[in-house]
């Protein structure tokens, strides 16, 4: 088998467990929404996604209370995802536009912005409640 070195490797792999992480289930459910409903009601089991590392950059979190409305985050946001609301002097973040660079969290003088490890944000509606942080 020296001319086809892949064969021993393949046969070895046949006996081993596949490397795939079975997220969300072993086979694609016919309807993902229905599957999620049955997971919620405890009828199905959802295999969790691969764990995120400690300083993962996920969906942004905003502490409104400490905010001073300085607008520095708006200035550095590369994708113009942050909007300064003039009437309240607070910000609104459009997560659908956010590129998760974490530049605003570095910039914030009050430390009021933080990246969480939430990343399952795919949806059909970009103006969904979950995707607007204020």
């Amino acid at each position: 088998m020296s001319s086809l070195p892949m064969i021993p490797e393949l046969l070895r792999q046949l006996m081993r467990k596949p490397a795939t992480n079975l997220f969300p289930a072993k086979y694609l459910p016919p309807s993902v929404t229905e599957f999620l409903h049955s997971v919620a009601s405890g009828k199905a089991h959802l295999t969790p996604p691969v764990k995120t590392p400690p300083k993962f950059r996920g969906k942004i979190e905003y502490q409104k209370d400490g905010c001073i409305g300085c607008g520095l985050c708006v200035k550095v946001c590369p994708s113009h995802a942050i909007e300064l609301l003039p009437e309240t002097k607070r910000i609104r973040i459009w997560v659908d536009q956010c590129i998760f660079c974490s530049q605003c969290t570095d910039m914030c003088p009050k430390g009021g912005l933080r990246m969480t490890d939430e990343f399952l944000l795919a949806t059909e509606d970009r103006y969904e409640e979950n995707l607007i942080v204020e």
Partner: protein, 339 residues
């Protein structure tokens, strides 16, 4: 002449074999995908995936390109499927005697095997796409390439059986009844093994699988022959692919591993039939694993000229050596030489 009772029996068994062929064929494709996936450290689709795909294809729109020759384009998949099922009627499945076994032999099967391939060629040329035309040309070349070693295998086995004084050496019934291993001596067994190797290489070419899938070559021709096919037509081709997989494995089984459970162990008649069918399925999966699944994940695709040289030079030579060994095996004891 055939009596009406006999005719009805043939029609009935033909229907049964058709259904069996389609179901088992798709099931084989599913197993093939599962095995390949596991070898690549993936989970892979469920074994029923080919059935799901088939259902999806059947409800999809059937697009015929504007510059295609519509009647050939639509006829090709039907004929391909029908002809691959017809081959199945000549092959022994388990201990069931083939419904048309009395009306044709291995030579006929060899001719019938070219029909699905020719249909794909016709369909490809009729598609009016440059990719499909190149695919069709390549399919013709591949066909010419593997027919030669395939013919050597068939002739060699039948010749050895004839030399042993067996009646009708070309009929699958007598080939299956007299396994080459029990007829031939030690030299012949070595020759038989070489022929088995050749047959194992012809199988992926016949089924257009890697490394001999130049006619479909996803990364080169985007599906080649089948690039314009969709909907019901594609479903028909994928069905015929499944049936062809069963056919090729069944031919290898019939020539080289024809034993049945019932001939080895004494079983009551009803149980024996089922046991033989399951045993047959096991043998088919084994053949498919070694000559299709394992080969297709362990190699890169050949170029078309490499396909030709592999079959004509390397496998042709191996086949001829096998043939010579079988001939020597038959001739030497007759000449009084003791090995």
């Amino acid at each position: 002449m055939i009596g009406s009772w006999e005719l009805a029996l043939i029609v009935l068994s033909a229907v049964i074999v058709t259904v069996y062929g389609i179901v088992v064929g798709l099931f084989l494709l599913g197993i093939d995908r599962k095995l390949a996936a596991h070898m690549q450290a993936r989970v892979g689709p469920p074994i029923r995936q080919p059935f799901i795909d088939l259902r999806k294809l059947l409800i999809k729109e059937n697009v015929v390109p504007d510059n295609a020759i519509a009647w050939i384009f639509n006829l090709a998949p039907v004929v391909a499927l029908a002809s691959s099922i017809v081959i199945l009627l000549y092959l022994p499945i388990g201990s069931i005697y083939p419904p048309l076994g009395a009306y044709g032999d291995l030579i006929l099967v060899m001719y019938l095997l070219t029909i699905p391939a020719l249909c794909m060629v016709a369909g490809g040329f009729a598609s009016g796409s440059p990719y499909a035309s190149i695919g069709a040309q390549r399919e013709m070349v591949t066909m010419i390439a593997y027919e030669f070693p395939l013919a050597i295998v068939v002739v060699a086995v039948a010749w050895r059986l004839a030399a042993a004084g067996i009646q009708d050496p070309f009929t699958l019934g007598s080939i299956a009844a007299h396994p080459i291993w029990s007829v031939a001596g030690p030299l012949g067994i070595v020759g038989g093994l070489l022929l088995l190797l050749v047959m194992a290489a012809v199988t992926p070419a016949e089924l257009s699988r890697i490394p001999f899938d130049t006619q479909e070559a996803e990364t080169e021709l985007a599906g080649g022959l089948l690039v314009e096919y969709s909907g019901k037509n594609l479903a028909m081709f994928s069905l015929s692919q499944g049936v062809k997989t069963l056919v090729m494995a069944a031919i290898v089984v019939a020539i080289f591993i024809p034993w049945n459970i019932s001939s080895l162990v004494l079983l009551p008649e009803g149980v024996a039939l089922v046991a033989d069918l399951l045993f047959f399925l096991g043998k088919v999966i084994l053949v498919m694993f070694f000559s299709v699944s394992l080969v297709r994940v362990a190699m890169a695709r050949f170029q078309i000229n490499q396909v030709v040289s592999v079959f004509w030079i390397y496998l042709g030579l191996i086949g001829l050596v096998g043939l010579l060994l079988l001939m020597a095996d038959a001739a030497l004891p007759a000449a009084g030489v003791i090995i």
